[in-house]
Amino acid sequence: MAPRRGDSRADSRADLAATVGRPPAASAGTVVGRSLPRREGPAKLTGAARYTDDLIVPGAWFGFTLRSTEAHARLLGLELDPAFDWSRVVVVTAAEIPGENVVHLMADDQPALVADVIRHVAEPVALVAAADPATARAARDAIRLRTEPLPAILDPLASERAFARYEIGRGDVEAGLAAADLVVEGTYRVGYQEQLYLEPQAMIAVPGEDRGVTVHGSLQCPYYVHAALARALGLAGEQVVVIQEETGGGFGGKEEYPSMLAIHASLLALRAGRPVRIVYDRHEDVAATTKRHPAVVTHRTGVTRDGRLVAQDVDVVMDAGAYATLSPVVLSRGAIHAAGPYACPNVRIRARTMATNTPPNGAFRGFGAPQTEFAAETQVNRVAEALGVSPLELRRRWAYRPGDVTPTGQVLRESVGAGVVLERVAEAADYEPVRARTAEARMARATRPAGARTDRLDGRTAHGIGLALAWHGAGFTGAGERFLASVAGVERSADGQVLVYTDSTEIGQGARTVLSQLVAEALGVPAEAVEVAPGDTSVVPNSGPTVASRTTMVVGGLLIRAAERLRADVEARTGAPFATSYRTDAAQAGRVRFDEQFEGYPGIVWDDATHRGDAYPAYSWAAAVAEVDVDLDTGEVRVGSVVAADEIGRVVNPVLAAGQVEGGTLQAVGYATIEELQARDGRYLNDRLATYLVPTAVDAPRIEAILLEEPFAGAPHRAKGLGELPMDVGAPAVIDAIHDATGAWIAELPATPERVLAALEAREGRR
């Protein structure tokens, strides 16, 4: 194992008094590695920060969306109620779209408004706007859709249309399984998960001169929106400006969907000749926008009697919904991670994402990996049980080490943190000693006479501890980063300011703070000396989308290189260190700016057609240990604590990084236990905050985040990605803990009381 450059340990509730806010010991550096406070923190604390719906836009009208109520139907026409006064509103249908009726993304199969066929419930069919919300809503309700129903396909396993299929593998799986002493089979299911960013989707479109448009919105990817607007409105790139306002969370939910919203608001604004704002209420946001893909994952794992892993056969089916959106790449990431971070000579991963007449699923933190890694980890824990070895011990034997080869044929050369996260998490959580105690308690319960059990009050709650390990490729999959060819720049302005130019957005993860820290360190100036230019496409270049845990690693790397060039340029002129000379140099040299374009990491080769090669330039690694209490009468699961160790190359800002681990872990705990979106006939049933539950302060476990560093030489600052990683590992750790407590395996997320009771009964029945 490579030597640790340093690590930092963040707080837990138990000892938060001692550690929160204290800068953890991290790698050296004057600016990088320090927990500088979030830049926009004071504005967010005082209510001064402006989110989209906070913008006061004089004369703006209010836009609303008329949506389908059927899963599949032919649209025959729209009937406008003649009794309504239509002179006070504008209405836009597919016929009025000036450009192509498409929300440009990958396959370009999703219309901005239904033209002839409705393919899912809540699909946008028409738009209305008026001077006040009540009038606009009344107008929407005065339009009736004439439709003719078509048969709907709701089950991805029954669907014959795939948006993408992949087969990845190495070795000979059938021969490996045939030679194995033991083959463990398992099928795992995961349902929808809603991002539930607290700020609902919001967009304001302002018509400009020459039929151009400027949109202000809550979004992650300004240039996605920019490209989609130009396409749908038939405008040249210069006629479109996209401005990201303060954004109240995204988690992937504001990756692709804001393009749809921006098109809608712009169509209305151009039609009305005035600004139009569309802000979804919570109900519309949950009912209509993208979710995490439901999936069914099947495993066959072959092992030898002495516990060697010889074959993994994995089958993944994801429900894409009605349009492709990002499903092919979600599936690709899910498939590449589907065997887990384990060395195995014979692997086959077959994956497909199927069309159904349900609302399209899309990006959500983890992007396909949480689904497949839940299955992979639960499978490994079941193999450990079958072999009678500890889940920790089995992972010690199987987990990737430098030199190992992944299913796509990638040789892991460096920055392989699987071993270090496992050891640190096991030590911090006291994993084996606690596991020994829970095993004893389980044994005592099992041997107690049945009648005696109810006499003991404390006997009806079972405590368990569970472990999981995960990897997460940082950046776009395969050749994605090369295609993006991202640009980011650093400027010393004529008045002596340092400015960072990137469209990477601050969505709560701390991008603004972290990127300015990286630039400040490269220039040798304090972080406060660095300003970040506003996220406005007329000002900043396209640095690629703010997704895929790529901002710190990829965009941060570009900015450091740009800053180094700026520093060299100024120092060559002044003969003095940048920090002491850049202001005076401004008077003579004026504005100087250096842009860097991404050109690829050295030695990274990928073939998209065969899905072979270096799937990611680097991987981040996480292990988590969860402890739960299961009420054996009600089936309720209470997650008491999660210890998470995340290895991310280099920790730029320990407090912000720990915040990512804590928040991602809590979302994973929600995914494992309470977050369930039920659907019937292609419609979500519990599409409100009162019925789709997310963890509150009292539900949240004590979370301890441990940050570790195995430097990644491919990046100038040695950092890898973090944002998504914690989401991969929390759920399987919780499910393993439920098993440790009860002996029952939960094969479908979330582990609702009903599912836990059913699993307990199935287990008792077997005895």
């Binding site: 509730r13 938060l16 604390l45 720990a658």
Partner: protein
């Protein structure tokens, strides 16, 4: 437009009078009539606490309160906390502990936490968790928010 009503209230210490449509919520009135947009709307159904303000010294979900109910009463919003453009001790603590991420829950969270500390100046961790259980945060793990409240209460005297 339906009937209107005149509402006079003391808002962040200043007397204000607005003419509003009957049935308008306090949240809408703050954001749309009084241009105080620090208070957020997330669910409009009393489920998230993003819209928390003080009404006569009590923390309420302003999306569930009719503006008419605020007539003759005192309303304090996030804009009214802190003094002279300076952060309050509680706000400082949020900044120091890293309790803020996207920030959308934060105005409501700060008002709710402020109310909690007025009621219980030296809360235990459990009291903080209970007291903030009506305020959702989707970004963090609640750990840092609790730490901020405890720090502001002086329960956690930490030196850097």
């Amino acid at each position: 437009m339906s009937e209107t009503a005149r509402v006079s209230l003391t808002l962040n210490g200043e007397p204000r009078t607005v003419e509003i449509g009957a049935g308008r919520t306090l949240l809408d009135t703050l954001r749309w009539e009084l241009d105080l947009t620090g208070t957020k709307e997330c669910c409009a159904a009393g489920e998230c606490g993003a819209c928390t303000v003080y009404l006569d010294g009590e923390a309420v979900n302003s999306c569930l309160v009719l503006a008419a109910e605020a007539d003759g009463r005192e309303v304090t919003t996030i804009e009214g906390l802190g003094s002279g453009g300076r952060l309050s001790r509680l706000q400082e603590a949020f900044l120091e502990t890293g309790a803020i991420q996207c920030g959308f829950c934060i105005p409501g969270m700060v008002v709710a936490a402020d109310a909690l500390l007025r009621e219980t100046p030296r809360p235990t961790l459990d009291e903080v968790l209970q007291g903030l259980s009506g305020n959702l945060c989707r970004c963090g793990g609640y750990t840092r928010i609790c730490a901020a409240v405890l720090r502001a209460a002086g329960a956690a005297d930490v030196t850097g």
